[in-house]
Symmetry: C2
Subunit: 287 residues, 2 copies
């Protein structure tokens, strides 16, 4: 296993972690100050500054992407909605390509409308079928620009609103169906927060193997967890066995970044530099 | 599939649903008034009135149990804790037997201490091994009195604090390992709230079959869900496909009760009779 205690070369910051403190250009400047080499920005953060400006700033600073957040949200109540989702995913692929991201992360979506409190339908198998078709269509487009798609299984507590792909096994079944050749066009993003509880975690990470392990996200599960979305903990503050899971990843051939992705009112309330300093320290000590 | 629209013969009330409104003897009286034939009481509710009094009241009223809540919480930080858990589970078996329950429901426990905010260890595989051993020991005791044990997989969002058995597949693997003969000594409690999201739900219910399907709990998943424990919805108020899941159960041979188990500050705040009336109405219309 790689030794993370001596430097933070493998550390990436998912920029949602500090989205309330600063705009993306300021976040990139701050990362450069802290010798953080990798980030994973969100589309809305890029758009708020401008794709061209962010691409130029990344080139100038030497900071690279560990991923791009996010495509997905494929299910819809009608044909027009399904079509709009595919168009939006093609734009996400284009942006990821412009930013030279190693992959586009997919949060696949779930019951249409559920995020705003009213589901257009309740049939989760239909949502899963729409997700499968949406990934298939987006994959066809993404192959042309060589942009790998990383399906991120989300925690089952987000199955109604955000993603109806909820286990690594389910995500890998989709990968096997759509990318038999395992050429790296389709894989998974393993976020410890979403998968730590899974009794099949070690076996499914091993099954995924190097070709399918496209991203590794870290944070922690707090006791108690007070909110289903925005109460993720800083690494070391909760009960997830971070080093053990990183061990599963590296055993399977993963050698990429450990990307910190925290949504937390507590951490959004702290100064940007403090958060980055803490990420670096925890990356070295507990990841 | 059975027709639930004409009566509520199959309705059971898990008495935690109305635990803040009344003591168990009053709840039983109220159920009798509403022609509710089945309940599933909790141990603390029985103890607050007295096991002998409750047993007598049940006999007099003709109300029977659909299950008894609950055994489990096997993991512990040391040998004394493990031993105490086994003793407590033997007492739970004895109480279930005295109340002529068809099964003892097991909420198996997870990281010791997590429920009170500080886990004694983080190794979920160790907790799972302790759970396996605890079920094995309790099963040996329960066989003597012929009391079936029903493992209840809990939602993965409760994997740290309440149960590290989180899918039906995982629970059935334990059943297969400890009760190869499938004689009904060990099975599962299927609570829609905990399993509705599972992509393998239909297949695992079919795998369980009649001998392993010992209980069926209903409520609903609300949009949004505001609390990880006490925000369960009344049937019909959320997005769970209740009739579809009951169909999976009956297809697999289940012919028992549909037990309403709601933990909700909203429903605890309503008058006891209103809650029971609503349960009856929803049982007929949406379960």
């Amino acid at each position: 296993m790689r030794d993370f205690s001596r430097d933070h070369q493998a550390l990436s910051i998912n920029t949602a972690t500090v989205r309330k403190q600063a705009k993306l250009d300021e976040i990139i400047d701050a990362c450069a100050r802290h010798q953080i080499r990798l980030i994973c920005p969100w589309r809305d953060q890029v758009q708020a500054v401008g794709l061209g400006r962010i691409a130029a700033q990344l080139r100038d600073s030497g900071i690279e992407l560990s991923g791009y957040c996010r495509g997905g949200f494929f299910p819809a109540a009608d044909g027009a909605g399904l079509k709009a989702a595919l168009e939006d995913n093609r734009r996400a692929v284009d942006e990821a390509t412009a930013l030279e991201s190693p992959c586009l992360v997919l949060v696949v979506g779930a019951l249409p409308g559920a995020l705003t409190g009213k589901a257009a339908y309740k049939d989760i198998r239909l949502a899963r079928a729409q997700v499968f078709d949406g990934i298939a269509a987006t994959l066809e487009y993404a192959r042309k620009s060589g942009m790998p798609l990383a399906i991120e299984p989300l925690h089952p507590m987000q199955a109604a609103e955000r993603a109806c792909v909820n286990t690594l096994e389910q995500a890998l079944d989709i990968c096997d169906a759509l990318d038999k050749a395992r050429r790296g066009a389709l894989g998974v993003a393993v976020d410890v927060y979403h998968v730590w509880w899974d009794p099949k975690l070690a076996a499914q990470i091993a099954r995924a193997g190097r070709e399918r392990l496209l991203a590794f996200h870290v944070c922690d599960w707090l006791l108690p967890t007070r909110d289903l979305l925005n109460d993720r903990g800083m690494m070391g503050d909760g009960i997830i066995e971070l080093q053990k899971i990183r061990g599963f990843m590296e055993e399977a051939g993963y050698g990429g970044a450990a990307e910190v992705e925290i949504f937390s009112e507590d951490w959004w309330a702290r100064p940007l530099d403090d958060v980055l300093t803490t990420c670096i320290e925890r990356h070295r000590s507990v990841v």
